[in-house]
């Protein structure tokens, strides 16, 4: 047994503790942050190589054998998401140097980002349902601080609603875990899966499935539980928004994916129909928002909701192909959303506003920014050979194969709406003649542009190199479609 899977959790924790003591020196904080984030990425790559060659890695905390102790489980899905999250955090940290401002840097911005990464990586890795709650709380606690750091009026106003919604959803989470424990008598996710298959499709299991859907739906912003998201996410500055938009909602989606493939796959006609219905409503609601707003942040935020709907539809279809599409699309969406939000942040920084009606004409002075944004927009909409294409293709094709015609067509149409909304954004910000002529002095955006462009390039490589990524994704899908693989690895039967 090796302890490798704990490294992507341990490194951010250690870094965050060190960073708290360095709060006086901003440059020291920056150096430590970059070193720690890079180390997290490297450790995630090492674990991924290990999982690829030797199968699922588990660590029993305190050497209490599963299912009695807390077990950390790195299967391919977990480690792929951990790697993606760590890369995004590295880029966001680099981007923050120029954009977050010395006020926030002096008040524990960097340690909190590391704590957030700790919570996210922990949620992806843990194999214990209560431990998942604890890592969720670490992540949420960091996000409470990040959403309010800087203390502007709009941030204070929105953070209150954000905290309230999440406190309530945490309470429901604890209750759901309590119910699950009283039914199955275990907290280890693999063990719960075994116990639930012994019970079969009792009504109480379906009730639990819906309870967990409410909890994770609140975090993952599915219809009708997404109401808090557009307001809250618009409050903090771009780098924090990029972290939230690419990581937090995706943790909710990961939790739905995990629980609905490991626990609640016995009563699929009921649970997965609800899921599919909500997925389509989520897509429609997101499309309406994305088309209605004339604001950079809001358009991109509603695109998060559309992506959540597409991912949920993939989970609801629940065939090998659709799950593969979901995993492909999940990783794609994390990378491209972070890239888009960072690029959007640069656009807001240049124009001094996020209102589309007051922007325009940036292509003359910032051509590279414009074309990178266009490329990212195409990737988001899923134009081949860019990264959104593979995932969407697999999801739609499996939808048609399962005779889910309405859903598949809505997913396809949503791509058009996504394309329209981001091209609209591109036209308004870059092509349109501005109301007031732009100043001749170009603002320096080089250091902001590099990390954002790196994410877009990564997304393009992910799309072009699908063939190379494919075996990794399929290994993740195997463990999701056949829960026995996951269970055997954890319980070592």
């Amino acid at each position: 047994m090796i302890n490798l899977p704990i490294l992507p959790i341990l490194i951010p924790l250690a870094a965050a503790i060190v960073l708290i003591f360095l709060s006086k020196s901003v440059s020291a904080q920056r150096i430590v942050s970059v070193i720690a984030s890079t180390a997290t990425v490297i450790s995630a790559i090492i674990v991924m190589a290990k999982v690829k060659s030797d199968g699922i890695q588990t660590v029993d905390m305190g050497s209490w054998p599963a299912p009695f102790g807390i077990t950390l489980v790195s299967d391919m899905l977990s480690i792929l998401l951990v790697l993606t999250a760590s890369v995004i955090t590295l880029c966001v940290v680099l981007y923050s140097f120029r954009s977050i401002g010395s006020g926030r840097e002096n008040f524990y911005y960097y340690p909190i980002v590391q704590f957030l990464l700790l919570g996210v990586n922990g949620s992806f890795t843990t194999g214990d349902i209560f431990n998942l709650f604890v890592f969720f709380e670490i992540m949420l606690m960091s996000s409470y601080v990040l959403i309010v750091i800087g203390g502007t009026k709009i941030q204070l106003r929105e953070s209150i609603k954000y905290i309230l919604v999440n406190v309530i959803s945490s309470a429901i989470f604890v209750i759901a875990v309590g119910f699950l424990y009283s039914v199955t008598g275990s907290l280890n996710m693999a063990h719960i899966s075994v116990r639930i298959s012994e019970i079969g499709s009792e009504p109480i299991i379906t009730v639990l499935a819906v309870l967990f859907l409410i909890v994770f739906g609140l975090k993952g912003a599915i219809f009708p539980l997404y109401f808090w998201l557009p307001g809250s996410y618009a409050a903090p500055p771009a780098p924090i928004l990029a972290l939230f938009g690419s990581l937090l909602t995706k943790v909710g989606i990961y939790a739905i994916l995990r629980t609905y493939t490991l626990f609640f796959y016995h009563d699929q006609p009921f649970t997965h129909d609800i899921l599919s219905m909500l997925a389509l409503l989520t897509i429609v609601a997101g499309v309406i928002g994305a088309l209605a707003y004339r604001d950079v942040k809001q358009i991109l935020i509603y695109n998060i909701i559309i992506a959540v709907g597409i991912l949920l539809f993939g989970i609801a279809t629940m065939t090998e192909e659709s799950i593969a599409g979901t995993v492909f699309y999940l990783i794609h969406d994390m990378i491209i959303k972070a890239g888009l939000f960072l690029l959007g942040g640069i656009m807001i920084y240049i124009a001094g506003t996020s209102n589309l009606n007051k922007m325009g004409g940036l292509i003359r002075q910032y051509p590279s920014l414009g074309w990178t944004f266009l490329l990212a927009s195409f990737a988001l909409a899923g134009i081949p050979p860019l990264s959104g294409f593979t995932g969407k293709l697999l999801i739609v094709r499996s939808g048609f194969a399962e005779s889910e015609y309405v859903g598949s067509i809505i997913v396809l149409l949503s791509s058009l709406a996504v394309l329209y909304s981001v091209i609209n954004l591109f036209m308004a910000v870059f092509w349109k003649t501005p109301e007031t002529p732009l100043p001749d002095v170009k603002k320096r955006t080089g250091l902001l542009f590099v990390p954002a462009a790196a994410l877009v390039v990564l997304s393009v490589l992910y799309g072009v190199g699908t063939e190379a990524v494919y075996p990794y994704v399929m290994q993740a899908v195997d463990a999701l479609i056949q829960p026995e693989i996951y269970i055997d690895a954890v319980l070592k039967e």
Binding site: V134, L156, K161, V177, G178, D295
Partner: protein, 113 residues
């Protein structure tokens, strides 16, 4: 006994929902406190009550209480304590900056961003 505890938890929930639906920020925070109390009672009940003695197991332990819900509650209480503290601080700061604790006036529209 379990049914009684469930009813108490339900009462706490009802009170919490009532408080959280009010307009004053402080009442809302107290509501979240009650909500977590109700949750913890529920969690304790889920392990079964009065089933035996302390969970110190010997070779032939016949009766013992399930220790896991108690461990879970301990964790959950600490977390909700921390969250309530953060919430109170942010609410106080928001009251100072925005000059109101009435949720109606904290609604916010795009025009005032």
């Amino acid at each position: 006994m379990e049914i009684l505890m469930c009813m108490i938890a339900g009462l706490l929930f009802a009170a919490a929902v009532y408080l959280m639906l009010s307009k004053s920020l402080l009442r809302i925070i107290i509501g979240t406190g009650l909500l977590s109390h109700g949750t913890h009672l529920m969690l304790l009940t889920m392990g079964g009550l009065k089933t035996g003695t302390v969970p110190v197991l010997g070779e032939n332990a016949a009766a013992y209480t399930d220790p896991i819900p108690q461990a879970l509650i301990l964790t959950a209480i600490v977390i909700s304590f921390g969250v309530t503290a953060v919430f109170l601080v942010i609410a106080y700061r928001a009251y100072q900056e925005l000059g109101t604790d009435n949720m109606d006036q904290l609604r916010g529209t795009e025009s005032d961003d």
